[in-house]
């Protein structure tokens, strides 16, 4: 192959040699951003057909150039540059990468287009924007960079599943996750584990193997994915081989991480004792019968405090639990890839290894990924190619939420500074329960607790493309996407917390997802004068076969046994399979006139096995158009406006039920005594159909003063036939039934600015800002006035999908300190009673204006390059929303929790008549329930966060040449370095606003090197 490249280059040079000899020019072309060489830059003499090109090292030799000629350097992805020769014979040029130019090629549904001709709403992010951000899952690297897209890390554990919401919430129960399409194939995505730890099946992708990510937002962009497009589509294009001498790149980075902020500050040891004393004093004062046996209130309080917050004993060792439970996490990432190719064949291959140790000793992730992607030309008309992507990932961690194996929860709630750690005598762990509950010192148990997940995934793909004529080609793709998920949950012999399970418990769950996708598409592309037409027609079939096997055993035979083979009693064992298939016809048509007027339409027909035969076929379509005003003659004199166009789209898409067989009435089985027991399992709904989305979008794109890019979009996404596991009267015998129930709208404005502040040869500064609004509203449910309570939310027409519904807390009675609530009973005239009452008399109500929908969200970023130094940063923000803090239930209990830790804020509780404060009087065993399930859990969620900051330095050419490297770079990257929020815990909360002791986000600092040979 090398030979072939050589021949090509030679022939290029020979050809250029034919021109009239005048002078020979040599030089090199480098990338202005990082100084790396740019290969295959076309260099032409203006006004002639004479061209040459740079080699892989960016060097060129151009002979026979007239001394007064002007050389034009052009290359895809870079702005062209014209350089007068002026008699020189060495000309070095730096090319600037094209910033979001309208001519940029963009990957879209079933093809690529020029950005300027595309009338849908889509944002493409190229790998150079995220290549240095040290993450395991690529989604984290693009937080805040796409307007209208909310990306949240659900947990700070390694490998956790990010949550993505494209333009709000599209669905009630059918899921709000977007469809992932990898290199043209709809891929298995989401979390296929057993919910004991978050694990993302998309983690199989090494971010370093990704060429670009495109997020499709409107109907024109996404309708081609039909029944699965409603929540947006994420197109991922992986790297392919590049023409030229094989280039090997090696990257390595090492990072350190710890919590990004001080989550849930707790009362200090002294403060806690004072607070305990206060609550017992109040309790004793109210119940003299309690202290009388003790002689005096003081004696009683002393005894109670000693019982529930015992003084430190010399027989025990006490510790700072944070130090025992957590450590600085260390991540390492090593990556090697090689890319090369000639005229006919191209190959890309990569191998990467991640080792990520989380902040708790049980948290880790190890992943190896490998890919090979090759293609070749056979004859003149046929291209064939194929790829293999393989990954093997093992993750370990702990449950999230208020679980007794979540060290974060234990640390914040149960493990007080008076909870003994070890016996002073022999240093053995103190494993008793201090609070009478099931929580124990977890430190000695970490190695006896198993909660891990192994994912293996292989995607095999083959394709062939036949060019029948210059304007007509047919491409067929077959792929097999195989995912094996094996996760385990259990406690080994000797784990004290769980003696309930006998001598240990181990459950292995295996899930296999095999998805075969086959598609064949014909493409037509032809220009007739000023008319350009492209069209596509094809079909696609998808077969997903799912196998689930579960084996659980109890009672290990041996201390140290880790697998259920060494357990004695079978707890459960079963297997089942399930299928979900889709058959589709797809087509689209694009027309443009003279690069001024664009029209496009798409149509897809989907049939799904998830619906009954009478409802299973549906049609999805879109129409869109744009007008490129700047290409009109009357605009040619307006030099301030480089580009201006308006575009609009309208179309439909859908969402399928997540349940495979919800339309069928089924019997489920259990055991009764020693026999089987069967019973109807669901209220079947044969009329079940997909959720339907009607979606319109209008936008303006402009580039002004050759510096400022602006995109402004407004969208309206109406979802009808919402799939809801709707509550039904219990008298049916069921509690819920999957139903197409109502409608919901999401609408909003999205603005994106990008400004080239400095655009010099050796210095570039670009600033970007994006901002989006979201209005989400449930328009109707199945019945007029119906409200569905799903605490802490309510669904009701006129309110958002994440509208909070609870008791409305007022504050303490200034005289007595008793918690007061607004009654909020509905009066005869329909208004709400606003008198202040005790908790038991307070009705839950819709808290107007308190929703998890932000008023605005987005990000801003800056990229600065000076010679070989570049600095970039990305911020994300969100404001105007409320989050539901479940921590209030455990740490701000006004004395209810007799043993637990106390939030620092409790210091401000009511103490004396006349105190003006928000928190009521503390009283031991507080049965007033002032704290839980009330608006006290609602907090303003506003935040601003420096998501990442990267400083990168490319070694000078001399050094590179000396080391014989084509490129060498070092970089330092930080994630979540700064956080500004009014919350007392990490503000990156799920889009529905609910926070319940998920391991908070981590601050990470990473040092990396990249070397290309």
């Amino acid at each position: 192959m090398k030979k072939r490249i050589f021949i090509c280059l030679c022939s290029m040079l020979l050809l250029s040699g034919v021109a009239v000899a005048q002078t020979k020019i040599t030089g090199s072309v480098t990338d202005a951003s990082d100084g790396s060489p740019v290969s295959y830059v076309t260099i032409s003499i203006q006004g002639t057909q004479t061209t040459t090109a740079t080699d892989v090292n960016g060097s060129y030799i151009f002979t026979n150039v007239p001394e007064d000629a002007i050389l034009v350097f052009s290359c895809i992805g870079y702005s062209s540059q014209e350089v007068p020769v002026n008699g020189r014979n060495r000309i070095d040029v730096e090319l600037s990468q094209e910033s979001v130019g309208l001519e940029e090629l963009m990957v879209v549904a079933y093809g690529t287009v020029q950005k300027g001709s595309y009338s849908g709403s889509a944002t493409q992010i190229k790998q150079d924007k995220f290549k240095d951000v040290p993450v395991v899952s690529f989604e984290q690297a693009i937080v805040g960079s796409v307007p209208g897209v909310q990306i949240t890390q659900r947990s700070g554990q390694p490998g956790s599943l990010p949550e993505i919401r494209v333009r709000g919430f599209g669905s009630f129960n059918a899921g709000n996750e977007p469809l992932y399409v990898i290199d043209g194939i709809p891929a298995t995505s989401g979390d296929w584990g057993s919910d004991n730890i978050f694990t993302s099946s998309m983690n199989f992708l090494n971010p370093g193997d990704i060429e670009s990510i495109t997020i499709l937002k409107d109907a024109a962009a996404a309708s081609l994915y039909g029944s699965r497009a409603s929540n947006g589509v994420i197109l991922i294009t992986t790297k392919t081989g590049r023409k030229g001498k094989p280039v090997s790149t090696f990257r390595a980075n090492v990072g350190l991480s710890y919590f990004a902020m001080d989550n849930y500050p707790l009362a200090s040891d002294e403060e806690a004792e004072i607070l305990h004393r206060e609550s017992w004093t109040n309790y004793g004062t109210d119940n003299p019968v309690k202290w009388q046996p003790y002689g005096s209130l003081d004696n009683y309080v002393d005894a109670m405090v000693e019982k529930y917050y015992p003084s430190r004993k010399s027989e025990f060792i006490y510790v700072d639990w944070e130090k025992e439970l957590f450590r600085v996490g260390i991540s390492q990432n090593y990556e090697y890839n090689i890319s090369g190719g000639g005229d006919n064949s191209k190959v890309f291959a990569s191998l990467a290894y991640n080792d990520d140790k989380g902040v708790n000793v049980i948290e880790y992730l190890k992943r190896i990924t490998a890919t090979i992607n090759a293609e070749t030309k056979i004859g003149k008309r046929l291209n064939i190619g194929g790829s293999v992507q393989f990954s093997n990932q093992t993750q370990s961690g702990h449950q999230e939420g208020a679980a007794k194996d979540n060290p974060f929860y234990l640390w914040k709630v149960h493990l007080t500074s008076r909870w003994p750690f070890q016996y002073a005598s022999d240093g053995s762990y103190w494993m008793e329960s201090y609070n009478g509950g099931s929580q124990r010192n977890p430190v000695g148990q970490f190695n006896l607790q198993i909660n891990d997940a192994n994912q293996m995934r292989v995607i095999l793909k083959g394709w062939a493309e036949l060019r029948l004529t210059d304007y007509l080609k047919i491409k067929t793709i077959v792929s097999d996407d195989f995912l094996q998920m094996h996760d385990r949950f259990g406690w080994l012999y000797g784990h004290v917390n769980f003696s309930a399970y006998g001598n240990g418990y181990m459950s292995d769950r295996y899930r296999f997802v095999n998805k075969v996708v086959s598609s064949t598409v014909a493409n037509f592309n032809k220009t007739f004068g000023n008319h350009h037409i492209s069209a596509m027609v094809g079909w696609e079939a998808e077969k997903e076969h799912f196998t689930y096997t579960r084996v659980g055993m109890v009672d290990f035979t041996n201390f140290g046994a880790t697998q259920s083979a060494l357990a004695t009693t079978l707890d459960e064992a079963f297997t089942y399979v399930a299928d979900a298939n889709i058959l589709s016809a797809i087509s689209n048509l694009n027309y443009d006139y003279n690069s001024k007027y664009y029209l496009a339409a798409s149509f897809r027909r989907d049939g799904s096995s998830r619906l009954s035969p009478k409802n299973r076929w549906g049609s999805f379509w879109s129409v869109s158009g744009s007008w490129r005003i700047s290409n009109e003659r009357f605009m040619s004199n307006v030099s301030q406006i480089n580009d201006l166009r308006i575009r609009g789209s309208y179309g439909t898409s859908g969402t399928l039920p997540s349940s495979r067989y919800a339309y069928k009435a089924v019997f489920d089985y259990w055991t009764y005594g020693t026999e089987g027991a069967g019973y109807p399992d669901n209220l079947a709904n044969a009329d079940l159909t997909w959720e339907k989305n009607k979606n319109w979008n209008i936008a303006v794109d402009a580039r002004l003063f050759d510096r400022l890019d602006i995109t402004a979009e407004y969208y309206n996404k109406l979802t009808t036939d919402l799939l809801l596991d709707a509550s039904v009267p219990s008298t049916t015998g069921f509690t819920s039934a999957l139903t197409n129930i109502g409608s919901m709208v999401n609408k909003g404005l999205e603005l994106a600015f990008s400004l080239d502040v400095i655009k010099k040869r050796d210095m570039v500064l670009n600033l970007g800002l994006n901002w989006a609004t979201l209005h989400n509203e449930v328009l109707s449910l199945s019945e007029e006035g119906e409200q569905i309570v799903s605490r802490p939310w309510i669904w009701k027409a006129g309110y958002s999908y994440v509208q909070y519904y609870t008791r409305e807390y007022y504050g303490p009675d200034p005289e007595t300190g008793e918690p007061l609530y607004y009654s909020n009973k509905i009066l005869d005239d329909g208004t709400r009673d606003r008198t202040l009452v005790s908790r038991s008399q307070a009705s839950s109500t819709i808290l107007e204006g308190m929703t998890a929908i932000p008023k605005g969200y987005g990000g801003f970023n800056a990229a600065f390059t000076w010679r070989s130094l570049s600095v970039s940063m990305a911020w994300s923000y969100k404001y105007g929303h409320y989050v539901w803090d479940n921590g209030v239930d455990d740490m701000e209990t006004d004395g209810y929790n007799l043993y637990a830790n106390i939030a620092k804020s409790q210091i401000e509780c009511w103490q004396n008549a006349g105190d003006q404060t928000y928190l009521p009087r503390r009283i031991a065993g507080n049965t007033g329930g002032g704290y839980y399930d009330s608006s006290r859990a609602l907090k303003k969620g506003d935040y601003l966060r420096l998501k990442n900051l990267t400083v990168s330095y490319t070694l000078p050419d001399k050094v590179k040449r000396f080391l014989r490297l084509s490129n060498a770079r070092v970089y330092l990257a930080g994630a979540n370095l700064l956080t500004f929020t009014g919350l007392n815990f990490d503000p990156e909360v799920r889009a529905d606003g609910y926070y319940n002791f998920y391991l908070p986000a981590l601050r990470t600092v990473t040092l990396g090197v990249e070397i290309s040979l």
Partner: protein
């Protein structure tokens, strides 16, 4: 040439993919059975009959709550501390917005639906042999009997005692068919109407059920005893007496003798058990007979036990008032949690294997004796008959005791001693218009300081449970019980 081979392979691929489309979108589940094929044989029907019982033993019905409704709302059992042990039941602290205790309503209708589904489909089976026909009839009878049991529980939990107002208060929603969502939204019937359905279901059941022992399932005798109980609650004393007497005289069950009495509680299919539910598995550990079960919480004899419930001091005093009562031996003082408080060791687990796994006893021959006693005393059979039946139970518990002449108080005290942990006490006091009195400082009681009236009688609105707020959101014509917030 190569090109053409490849092209033809592609074409072939395209064609075969298309031709395999037929049936491509018809997929079948394998972990459940499509309803149309779920009950085609008598064997399947037998499995569906088991399905009537399998959820009744869940913690939110006979696994725990039903017993607590009778014992912890009463004066037999109480929480050990004020921080755990179903305080909300103890203090009657529930309201229409607390979701915890309303699964019972759902649970009840879940199995009612199963009974209705079985009754609607079993007629389609046409057994060839008379033995099979009898089997089918027995299955039908079980469905009627289970439905009667559940409607009876709905009536006594959600409706006021029959004798308070002759059944005029609101009772259950009567569903006797497989219903659609809209048909399910019927108004509540009165307690009297609910009792009518219960008694007619029991008549149906009695005409169909087999008289053979059928552990874990209703048979004729269990249905008969349930009928006696229903008449007792209704105040139909003679009918109660007659039904109970038939069970005592004619059924194959016998009172276990005194010396076997303690062991009886760990026996499956014991001599005097007319109906119990199988609790055999720990796999869904938190749902049936596992960690949330009240058996786990009654037990104090193991560090891993729940130990959050204790017998009240007044019950202890009652059972110890006569020396030699075997039921006093349920009391143990070796608590691994709080040595000063005695605990109730009545339910040691089936075969004593696991204290969490007890088959709840639903109907027991001892109850037939005490129903017969009460029916005789208040009805036409007379005090002598009443005394005979009462003394049979008293002497079984304490062979050294002397005979007494039956009175209402003696019968109720005997019921209280005999049925602790079986969910009767509160309902007994309510049905006769009595009251539950629990005052702080009386033993370890703290009900009053936790917000509960000291004396509870059938005039207190919380003696009936609230209809869940969430249920009423989607079903507004489901009328709320008086006193509760809408």
């Amino acid at each position: 040439m190569k090109k053409y081979i490849i092209i033809s392979i592609i074409c072939l691929g395209v064609i075969t993919s298309f031709s395999s489309c037929k049936g491509f979108l018809d997929t079948e589940p394998t972990d459940v059975v499509v309803a149309e094929t779920a009950m085609l044989t008598l064997y399947d029907a037998g499995i569906a009959v088991n399905g009537l019982y399998v959820d009744l033993k869940w913690y939110d019905y006979y696994g725990t709550y039903m017993q607590l409704m009778g014992d912890e709302r009463g004066d037999n059992i109480q929480p050990r501390t004020m921080s755990s042990g179903w305080i909300q039941i103890y203090t009657l602290g529930y309201d229409s917005e607390s979701n915890t205790y309303f699964n019972m309503w759902q649970k009840c209708y879940q199995t009612i639906m199963r009974c209705n589904t079985l009754l609607a489909n079993i007629e389609k089976l046409d057994p060839a042999t008379s033995a099979d026909k009898k089997k089918r009839d027995d299955y039908k009878g079980q469905a009627y009997a289970v439905r009667a049991l559940i409607y009876f529980d709905l009536a006594r939990m959600y409706g006021y005692p029959y004798m308070k107002d002759n059944g005029a208060s609101l009772g259950a929603v009567l569903i006797t068919d497989v219903v659609s969502i809209s048909d399910a939204k019927q108004d509540r019937s009165t307690v009297a109407q609910t009792y009518d359905l219960i008694l007619s279901d029991l008549d149906q059941a009695l005409s169909l059920l087999s008289k053979d022992k059928n552990t874990g399932h209703f048979n004729y005798w269990a249905a008969k005893l349930l009928q006696a109980r229903v008449y007792l609650y209704k105040g139909d004393w003679d009918a109660a007496y007659n039904a109970a007497k038939e069970v005592i005289d004619q059924s194959p069950y016998n009172l276990v003798p005194n010396q076997e009495y303690l062991d009886y509680w760990q026996q499956e299919g014991g001599d005097e058990t007319l109906l119990e539910f199988f609790v055999t598995t720990q796999s869904t550990i938190d749902d049936d007979g596992g960690y949330v079960s009240f058996y786990h919480n009654l037990w104090h004899g193991d560090v891993s036990a729940g130990a959050s419930l204790i017998p009240t001091v007044s019950w202890i005093n009652l059972v110890q008032s006569e020396p030699g009562d075997i039921r006093a031996e349920f009391l143990r003082t070796d608590s691994k949690y709080e040595i000063s408080k005695a605990w109730l060791c009545k339910f040691p687990g089936t075969n004593g294997v696991n204290f969490r796994l007890n088959n709840p006893r639903i109907l027991r021959l001892a109850e037939a004796y005490l129903i017969a006693a009460e029916g005789a005393l208040k009805g036409s059979a007379g005090v002598n008959q009443a005394s005979n039946y009462l003394n049979a139970i008293r002497k079984r518990a304490n062979p050294s005791t002397t005979d007494v002449v039956a009175t209402e108080d003696l019968i109720q005290d005997e019921r209280r001693k005999e049925f602790i942990g079986e969910g009767h006490r509160f309902f007994d006091m309510m049905r006769i218009g009595g009251s539950i009195v629990r005052s702080d400082g009386d033993g370890y009681n703290f009900a009053v300081s936790a917000g509960c009236p000291e004396e509870i009688d059938w005039n207190y609105f919380k003696v009936v449970l609230p209809i869940s707020h969430t249920e009423r959101q989607i079903y507004p014509n489901l009328e709320q019980n008086p006193g509760y917030t809408e």
